[in-house]
């Protein structure tokens, strides 16, 4: 299958993203990576002596979610941050809360999974079944066997880590193949064609080398893009956002976690207000960059 600028993709997960872009006029997302050591004192005060770690993590997540939801396309919950028995309890209550209170927002489980056979089936059942996430992050190194157990859930999204934004990503993903293209471009094509029989694969691309994104819409049609590496990792919004826009004027999702979870607070400012200010800043910075087309 050849993908060009005119290729269209649609599935329930993709439409949920598109609806949310319009509803919020935002392409910003919130990464939920709660670090127990950074949970502020007011949360511990509120749960009281009866509460445990799981209660504290959940209450912290809830506060950030409630404060930022009006400007968020998605909440990307990193399951690798929810360790141990109490961590998993907080993971379940966080997903349940999102589903119950804010069903229109995309719920992403960021596990970067890659496993096969009955293990992969088990993960998919947990993430899409038990937690009822809308989307999961996957690692392509094991090939289609590690993808299909997730893409078979046709109403769910599989977000494929095609090109990540960490400094050493190019060490593997940037390796030139015999045909001349770097590995990640080959994975991008595989992901959007052979692996995309349910039109529910969405790629992660990196903003750290923005020139890589030039003309990218000619190769990926109108599929939403998860853009990584903006901000502290050095990706330039002004260059990378215009490359990823689709014909509707949206087309991408950019999430921040630490800047929103642990924002700098102004004197007397509540944590919720500071988190909201951080996500609004991100939303506006992305929208301002649209003008650079």
């Amino acid at each position: 299958m050849t993908i060009d600028a005119t290729t269209t993709f649609s599935s329930p997960g993709i439409e949920k993203i598109r609806n949310r872009w319009v509803e919020t006029d935002s392409m910003a997302g919130v990464g939920i990576d709660p670090d127990i050591d950074k949970i502020p004192p007011e949360i511990w005060g509120e749960i009281g002596l009866e509460g445990d770690t799981a209660d504290a993590i959940f209450l912290f997540n809830k506060m950030v979610i409630d404060a930022t939801v009006d400007h968020a396309v998605d909440f990307k919950v990193n399951s690798n941050f929810f360790q141990g028995e109490l961590g998993r309890k907080a993971l379940a209550t966080t997903f349940a809360y999102l589903k119950e209170e804010y069903p229109a927002v995309l719920r992403v489980c960021d596990g970067k999974f890659a496993d096969v056979g009955h293990t992969a089936d088990k993960i998919a059942e947990e993430v899409f079944g038990e937690l009822d996430a809308d989307a999961v992050l996957l690692n392509p190194y094991l090939g289609f066997d590690a993808i299909r157990p997730f893409t078979d859930w046709k109403d769910k999204l599989s977000i494929l880590c095609v090109n990540t934004s960490n400094p050493s990503a190019s060490e593997v993903q940037g390796l030139p193949l015999a045909g001349g293209v770097p590995l990640w471009r080959h994975i991008l094509e595989l992901g959007l064609s052979d692996w995309n029989y349910n039109q529910n694969v969405v790629p992660v691309l990196s903003a750290t080398h923005a020139s890589n994104l030039e003309g990218i819409r000619d190769e990926i049609g109108d599929v939403p893009v998860v853009l990584a590496g903006v901000g502290s990792q050095g990706g330039d919004l002004g260059v990378s956002v215009p490359h990823c826009l689709d014909d509707s004027g949206y087309g991408l999702m950019i999430s921040a976690s630490r800047a929103i979870l642990y924002p700098e607070r102004e004197p007397g400012e509540s944590l919720g207000d500071a988190s909201r200010r951080a996500v609004v800043n991100l939303k506006q910075a992305i929208n301002n960059a649209k003008g650079n087309v």
Copy 2:
């Protein structure tokens, strides 16, 4: 760094494997992937009405561990099988039991992780700190950033999924690079040189195309190999084992999970006896294949 047949590697994790090979005269391991739906009635009977799912999973694991440990180099516990709050409880009790009762056996956490920054630190702290696993399985697609948080624990082992044995692995891992070698061979070299500053990286190689392993010792020195894909995935022990032997007459680890966890039982045979029979069969089949050198 160039690695050839004379390159030697040593670290506490590697020595633990070598000691265990000699102690048991076995290169067999046991994969602990407990499926709640397959836990036999006698386990449920034993935990009684007071017990929960976590108790049942732990008791099942304990029974398999006790029955097979005399012939096992390692127990490879797949954390992706331990989902939810009760799953994580059982994961913790299983690792604690192994450490307490059988400290000489290698404890492997098979999560196939690939994440970076503070997420990777968090995973390493959980796997090596909290669970006190000796080794973890890692996926190389994100490059060194996703490896270093683990290899920095110099007394622990990082088992790198270089070439996996699932049918579609070659779709990505077998891609020929511009230099001519397939991707997995490049990852093998990276993993054993640049990423191996603590001599604590061990590769997973696949037995499914045994000709790939011909002469492999010339490229990897004496590092232990985790050999995947023997048995139901079609790898031929008789061909692949001789290629991976080191000068001591050992050199590799092969684990089975379902064949040992859910063995066919003879009339009147206990589950423990059937599991022991299964691991002894695997051990002997591997040792018999050594004769083919």
